[in-house]
C-alpha cells in the first residue's frame, strides 16, 4: 500500500527526533512510576506498562496515517472539524470527569480526550479555510472567520474546565501571521503582555515613566530628518496607561484569589519570607518541588532510577505535566539541555519542511502543527522550571497519557505524510 517512494520521501530526520523524544519520555515515565514490586516493563497494571502499550498503538496509527492518500486530509478536514466539535459538545452530556475536568469519553478500555482530536481537526480546518482560493487574509471578514475557527473549540473546552488545553488553540494565530496577518497585531499583543506584567511588578506609575522615557529615547535617537507622527504616539501612550490602570482593576476586582496567587507566584511578587514559606506549602508546592528536584540534579544528574525526590513522589503529577522535572533530577543539566535541543531541532526542522511546501494547504497545516507543538513545549517546560505560571498542559511525546501521545503523533505524521507527497502535487 505504500510504495518505496513514500519510504524514500518521508522525512526521516523528523522521525528520528520524534523517536528520541518518545523513548526518553518513556524512560522518565518508567522512572517516576517505577516500583520495586513490579520490575517487569511489560506490566500493564503499571503506568509505564500502559504507556508502552500507547506507544505501540501510536506506532500502529502512524501506519494507518501513512496508508491514507495525502489529499484525504485536505478533503475531509471540514468534516473532521465538525465531528470533533460535536464530540466536544457531547462531553457536556456524556463526559467522564477525571480530576475535576469533564474532558474524557469512557470507552471502557481507554479514556478518549476529544480535545486532542480537536487540535488536529482545527489545524486542518484552518489550513483548509486559509488555502481556499477565495480567502484573503488581508480582508477583515476572512480574518474574523479564521479567528472563529480557532476560538470555537477553545470556547467549548474552557467550561470543562480545561483552560490549559483551550489556550493551546490560540497558538494557531502563528499560522495567520505566516500567511500575512499584519505583525502589528502581534506587536500590540506583546506590548499588552509587557504592560500587564510590569504593572503587576512595579505599578502603573513606573510603567508610565518607563514608557515616557522610551518615547524620549526614540526622539533622541531618530535621524533629524525623520518625522514621527506625534498625535498617534500620544494616543498610544494614553491607551497604554489606561490599559495599565485597568490591569490593576481587573487583577484586584475581577480575578479570584487563586488567579492572583498564580500570578504573584509567577512574578515573585511576594517578598515576605514567612508568606513565601506558606506559599511553598500550598499553591506554590508543585513549582517549588519541581524546581528543587531539577536543582538537586546538578550538571550530571543523580542517575537513572536514582532520583530520590522522584522516588519519593515529591513532585505531584510528575509522570504527566511535571515529567520534565524527572529529567532534571536524574539526568541533570546534560539531560535537560538535550531535551530542549531535541525539541528545538524538531521544531526548526518542521519549519524548514513547511517552508518547502509548494502546496499552500500543506504549508499552513505544517505551521499549525508547529504552533501547537511549540505552545505545549513552551508552556510546559516554562512552568516546570518556574518561569511561567502554572498551566496544566502536557509535554508532547513525553508526558504520560494515551490520548495525548496519539494526538501529537497524528498531528505530526499527517504533516510528514503531506510533506512526503509534495512532489506529486501540481
Amino acid at each position: 500500500m505504500f510504495g518505496r517512494s513514500l519510504l524514500k520521501r518521508i522525512d526521516w530526520l523528523s522521525i528520528l527526533f520524534y523517536l528520541f523524544l518518545v523513548a526518553i519520555g518513556w524512560l522518565n515515565i518508567y522512572s517516576s512510576t517505577f516500583s520495586e514490586s513490579h520490575p517487569l516493563i511489560f506490566d500493564f497494571s503499571q503506568l509505564y506498562g500502559k504507556q508502552l502499550f500507547f506507544i505501540a498503538v501510536s506506532f500502529a496509527s502512524i501506519l494507518l496515517i501513512a496508508a491514507l492518500e495525502a489529499n484525504f486530509y485536505e478533503r475531509f478536514s471540514g468534516l473532521l472539524y465538525i465531528v470533533s466539535m460535536v464530540l466536544l459538545l457531547g462531553l457536556f452530556v456524556f463526559g467522564k470527569t477525571i480530576a475535576g475536568a469533564t474532558s474524557w469519553y469512557n470507552l471502557g478500555f481507554f479514556n478518549l480526550q476529544p480535545s486532542e482530536i480537536a487540535k488536529v481537526a482545527t489545524a486542518l480546518a484552518l489550513a483548509k479555510y486559509l488555502s481556499d482560493i477565495q480567502t484573503d487574509i488581508k480582508r477583515r471578514k476572512d480574518q474574523l472567520y479564521a479567528i472563529l475557527i480557532i476560538v470555537l473549540p477553545a470556547v467549548l473546552i474552557i467550561p470543562q474546565p480545561d483552560p490549559g488545553s483551550a489556550l493551546v488553540f490560540f497558538a494557531l494565530v502563528f499560522v495567520l501571521f505566516r500567511e500575512g496577518l499584519p505583525l502589528f497585531y502581534l506587536g500590540i499583543a506583546f506590548m499588552a503582555i509587557l504592560i500587564f506584567v510590569t504593572t503587576l511588578m512595579y505599578g502603573t506609575i513606573w510603567v508610565a515613566i518607563g514608557l515616557a522615557l522610551l518615547i524620549v529615547l526614540i526622539f533622541l535617537l531618530k535621524r533629524s530628518r525623520t518625522r514621527i507622527p506625534l498625535l498617534p504616539l500620544i494616543a498610544i501612550y494614553i491607551a497604554s496607561i489606561v490599559f495599565s490602570l485597568s490591569v490593576n482593576l481587573v487583577f484586584y476586582k475581577v480575578f479570584e484569589q487563586r488567579h492572583r496567587d498564580r500570578f504573584s507566584l509567577w512574578l515573585r511578587l511576594e517578598k515576605d519570607p514567612n508568606k513565601l514559606e506558606e506559599i511553598r506549602k500550598t499553591i506554590g508546592y508543585n513549582t517549588y518541588q519541581s524546581e528543587k528536584a531539577i536543582e538537586s540534579g546538578g550538571f550530571f544528574g543523580k542517575g537513572f532510577l536514582e532520583g530520590t525526590r522522584t522516588k519519593g513522589d515529591f513532585v505531584p503529577e510528575q509522570h504527566t505535566d511535571y515529567i520534565f522535572s524527572t529529567v532534571g533530577e536524574e539526568w541533570g543539566f546534560l539531560g535537560t539541555t538535550t531535551v530542549v535541543i531535541l525539541f528545538t531541532l524538531l521544531l526548526l526542522r518542521l519549519v524548514y519542511l513547511a517552508e518547502r511546501q509548494k502546496h499552500a494547504f500543506s504549508r499552513m497545516y505544517g505551521y499549525g502543527v508547529i504552533s501547537i507543538l511549540f505552545i505545549h513545549y513552551f508552556i510546559n517546560i516554562g512552568m516546570v522550571i518556574g518561569i511561567l505560571p502554572t498551566i496544566g498542559i502536557p509535554l508532547p511525546f513525553f508526558s504520560y497519557g494515551g490520548s495525548g501521545l496519539l494526538g501529537f503523533t497524528a498531528l505530526l505524521f499527517i504533516f510528514l505524510r503531506l510533506d512526503a507527497n509534495r512532489l506529486n502535487e501540481w
Partner: protein, 622 residues
C-alpha cells in the same frame, strides 16, 4: 520577516530555557546532602556506651535501660483517659497538655509523652500498652553508676546542644554526648560509632524502602570499655572524709603518674544526673554558687601552695649551690624585710635545712630565697633561673593530664612583676613571700600532688592521667609513659626528703604518724582573703598537706587542700594520713582519728563570711 518569525521565537525560547536551566542546575545547584534530602530519612542504630572500670577492674559506670512513653498523635484512638493516666502516674490535665504539645510538634512523628519511666512503672504498663493505639514504649540507654563517688571526675552525659552540633557533624539533634570529666575526654572511645540506615520516604513521610539498596548504610561500632587509674575504694573513702568540707584531694602513683583518686568536696551522687529528676537536680547543683559542688576543686582551685612550696625553694637553692644542707640561718621568731619583722611559728633559733623543713621555718627559707637572688647580677636573671626550675615541676602551666578542664596555676615571671611594679622597680624583698609559698605563686591541688610525686621520684614525674586500659589493653601513650625530668639533680633530693620525713617524726605532723609506714610530708597553712561588702577581710587559713609514702619506695603521693581548715596538720594532715594508710594497708588502725575526720565538718567556718556579723578567724577550738 514572517518566514523567520516562528523560527526566531523557537530559538529564543530554547536559549531562555537553557539559560534558566543552567541557573538552576549549575549556578544554584546544591547537591542533596543525604541528611538534608527530605526524601531520605536516616535511622540510627546506637551502640551501647562503653563501661568504665577502676584500676582493679571494679565496675564504676555501666548502662541501664530507661523507657520513654512515645505517642504518634494521628494514630491515637479514643481511650479511657482516666485509666491510662492512672497507669502513667500523671493527672488528666497534664496528659492533655502533653498530647496537644505533641500534636503541635507533628501529628505524624513520634514525640515523647513521658520521659524515663521507672522499671516498676514500665512493668505495670507494658502488658496493657496494646490497648492504647498510637502509644508505644521506646527503650533508651542511660548511665548507671555503681558508686556514689567520683561525680566530677567521671563526668556526665547530656543531650548535644547547638554548639556541639555546629562543631561536630557526627551528632544529630537529641543524641547524647559526654559533657564533663572522663565522659567528655574519652567520648569517642566510650560512645563507639552509631550505625545508620537510609530510608527512602515519599512526600507523606512514609517509608518506601531502603535508599540505594542500603549501599550507604553502616553498622554500629560498639563503644569501648575503659579502665581508669582511679582506685574505687580510695576515691570513695576520700569523699567520705570530705564530709562537710570544701577542697580537693589528688593522689598519684609516682612510678607511673596514674591518678589514684581525684576528690572534690562538696560532691554529689552521680546518679542524681540520670533519670527523671535530672534537670531538677542539675539546677540545684548548678545554682549552688556558694559551695559549688560541680566545680572540681581538685583541678580548678588555685590557692597559694603555702609551706610545701618551701621544699622546692630548698631544692632550687641546693641546685644553684647557694646553700648546703648544713647552711644555717637564724630565726628571730621571724625575719626582717627592711625594718619590718615578718612572723614565724617555728620557735626561733638556728635552723639548718633539716629543721627548717620539719619546723617549717619562714626565716630559713626567706634567707635561702635571698641567696638565690644574690647569686645573680640582676634580679631579672635570678627570676628567670628560679622560674625555669619551678616550671620543671609542672607548676605555672597546664599539666597536660587527660581531663577536659584545668588551670595553669601561677609561677610569676619577671614580666609579671614588671607589670605589677614597673620595670626595674622591684627586688627580691618585694617577692620574698614566694619563698614560703605565699604571695603570687599559686597551684592547683593536682599540680601540688604532681610536684610531690616528682620529689618522691627524686627528680622526675610522669604526666598524671586517668586512662589505664582501653578494651582490656594497657595504654601506650608516649605523653603519659615518658618521664619528665626536673632541672634539679638527683642527689639534692635526699636531704629534702629527709626533712620531709622528719616532719612526721618530730615536726609539724608528728601526731599523724602511721604505724609501720615511713611517710614524708609537708604541712601548709595558707593565709587568704576575701571581700565582704567591699572590705578586704582575712578568713581562716587554708589547710594544705602534701605527702608521699613509703619514703624509700613511694607508692602514693598526694596533695590535700581544705578550704579554711586552719593549719596544715589539722584537716589536710589528718586526711592525708588516713588516705595513705587506707591505700597502703587497706584498713585504718587509728579509729579515733578516722572518726574525728568523718564527723567533723567545717560548715560553721564556711558560714562565717555570710553571717553578716563580726567573726573570729583561726579559732583554736577543735
Amino acid at each position: 520577516m514572517k518566514k523567520f518569525l516562528l523560527s526566531s521565537i523557537i530559538v529564543i525560547i530554547g536559549i531562555t530555557f537553557v539559560g534558566r536551566l543552567s541557573y538552576l542546575q549549575i549556578f544554584r545547584f546544591s547537591p542533596d546532602q543525604v541528611l538534608e534530602d527530605p526524601a531520605i530519612k536516616a535511622i540510627y542504630d546506637y551502640p551501647e556506651r562503653g563501661y568504665i572500670y577502676d584500676r582493679n577492674g571494679e565496675l564504676l559506670v555501666a548502662n541501664q535501660p530507661a523507657y520513654d512513653v512515645m505517642v504518634i498523635p494521628r494514630e491515637v484512638q479514643p481511650l479511657d483517659t482516666l485509666e491510662f493516666c492512672g497507669l502513667l502516674g500523671i493527672d488528666k490535665a497534664t496528659f492533655k497538655e502533653k498530647l496537644s504539645k505533641a500534636r503541635v510538634y507533628s501529628p505524624r512523628l513520634p514525640s515523647v509523652l513521658i520521659h524515663q519511666l521507672s522499671k516498676e512503672d514500665y512493668a505495670r504498663l507494658q502488658e496493657k500498652m496494646r490497648k492504647y493505639e498510637g502509644f508505644y514504649i521506646q527503650k533508651r540507654s542511660l548511665r548507671y553508676y555503681n558508686t556514689q563517688s567520683g561525680a566530677n571526675v567521671l563526668g556526665y552525659i547530656s543531650e548535644v546542644n547547638e554548639h556541639d552540633l555546629s562543631r561536630n557533624p557526627y551528632y544529630v539533634q537529641g543524641e547524647l554526648t559526654g559533657r564533663t570529666g572522663i565522659e567528655k575526654e574519652y567520648e569517642e572511645l566510650l560512645r563507639g560509632r552509631k550505625g545508620v540506615k537510609y530510608i527512602q520516604k515519599d512526600r507523606f513521610n512514609r517509608d518506601i524502602g531502603p535508599y540505594k539498596e542500603g549501599s550507604l548504610d553502616t553498622l554500629p561500632q560498639a563503644g569501648k570499655e575503659i579502665h581508669v587509674t582511679l582506685h574505687k575504694e580510695l576515691q570513695e573513702y576520700g569523699e567520705k572524709l570530705m564530709n562537710g568540707k570544701r577542697g580537693g584531694i589528688v593522689a598519684i602513683e609516682p612510678a607511673s603518674g596514674e591518678i589514684l583518686a581525684l576528690i572534690s568536696g562538696p560532691t554529689y551522687d552521680p546518679a542524681l544526673l540520670v533519670g527523671r529528676e535530672r534537670s531538677e537536680n542539675y539546677s540545684k547543683l548548678h545554682y549552688d554558687t556558694i559551695s559549688k559542688p560541680t566545680w572540681d576543686r581538685a583541678i580548678l582551685a588555685e590557692p597559694s601552695p603555702g609551706s610545701p612550696f618551701k621544699t622546692l625553694n630548698a631544692l632550687v637553692a641546693l641546685q644553684e649551690g647557694v646553700i648546703q644542707p648544713e647552711t644555717t640561718f637564724r630565726c628571730f621568731n621571724g625575719f626582717y624585710v627592711g625594718r619590718t619583722l615578718r612572723g614565724c611559728h617555728c620557735g626561733g633559733g638556728i635552723r639548718d635545712l633539716n629543721s627548717g623543713i620539719y619546723k617549717s621555718c619562714n626565716a630559713y627559707f626567706a634567707g635561702t630565697f635571698r641567696k638565690i637572688y644574690e647569686k645573680y647580677r640582676t634580679t631579672d636573671e635570678a627570676m628567670d633561673v628560679w622560674e625555669k626550675h619551678m616550671k620543671s615541676f609542672g607548676l605555672g602551666d597546664y599539666l597536660g593530664y587527660d581531663l577536659p578542664t584545668g588551670r595553669k596555676g601561677r609561677i610569676p615571671s619577671k614580666e609579671y612583676y614588671d607589670k605589677v611594679y614597673g620595670d626595674n622597680r622591684w627586688s627580691s624583698s618585694y617577692i620574698i613571700s614566694n619563698s614560703i609559698g605565699q604571695g603570687e605563686v599559686a597551684a592547683t591541688p593536682i599540680q601540688l600532688a604532681n610536684m610531690t610525686a616528682a620529689i618522691a621520684n627524686r627528680g622526675f614525674y610522669y604526666t598524671p592521667h586517668v586512662l589505664k586500659k582501653v578494651a582490656g589493653e594497657d595504654i601506650d601513650l608516649p605523653r603519659f609513659t615518658t618521664p619528665k625530668y626536673t632541672t634539679i639533680d638527683r642527689q639534692h633530693f635526699e636531704p629534702v626528703v629527709q626533712g620531709m620525713a622528719e616532719v612526721y617524726k618530730k615536726g609539724t605532723a608528728r601526731w599523724l604518724q602511721i604505724p609501720g609506714i615511713e611517710v614524708a610530708g609537708k604541712t601548709g597553712t595558707v593565709e587568704n582573703y576575701t571581700r565582704i561588702d567591699g572590705v578586704r577581710t582575712q578568713l581562716t587559713d587554708h589547710s594544705i598537706f602534701v605527702a608521699f609514702a613509703p619514703v624509700d619506695k613511694p607508692q602514693i603521693a598526694l596533695a590535700v587542700y581544705i578550704e579554711h581548715g586552719y593549719y596544715g596538720a589539722r584537716y589536710a594532715g589528718h586526711i592525708a594520713s588516713l588516705l595513705i594508710e587506707k591505700y597502703l594497708k587497706g584498713e585504718i588502725s587509728r579509729k579515733d582519728l578516722e572518726k574525728r575526720m568523718l564527723e567533723k565538718t567545717l560548715e560553721h567556718e564556711y558560714a562565717k563570711p555570710y553571717s553578716g556579723e563580726e567573726f573570729k578567724i583561726n579559732e583554736y577550738v577543735w
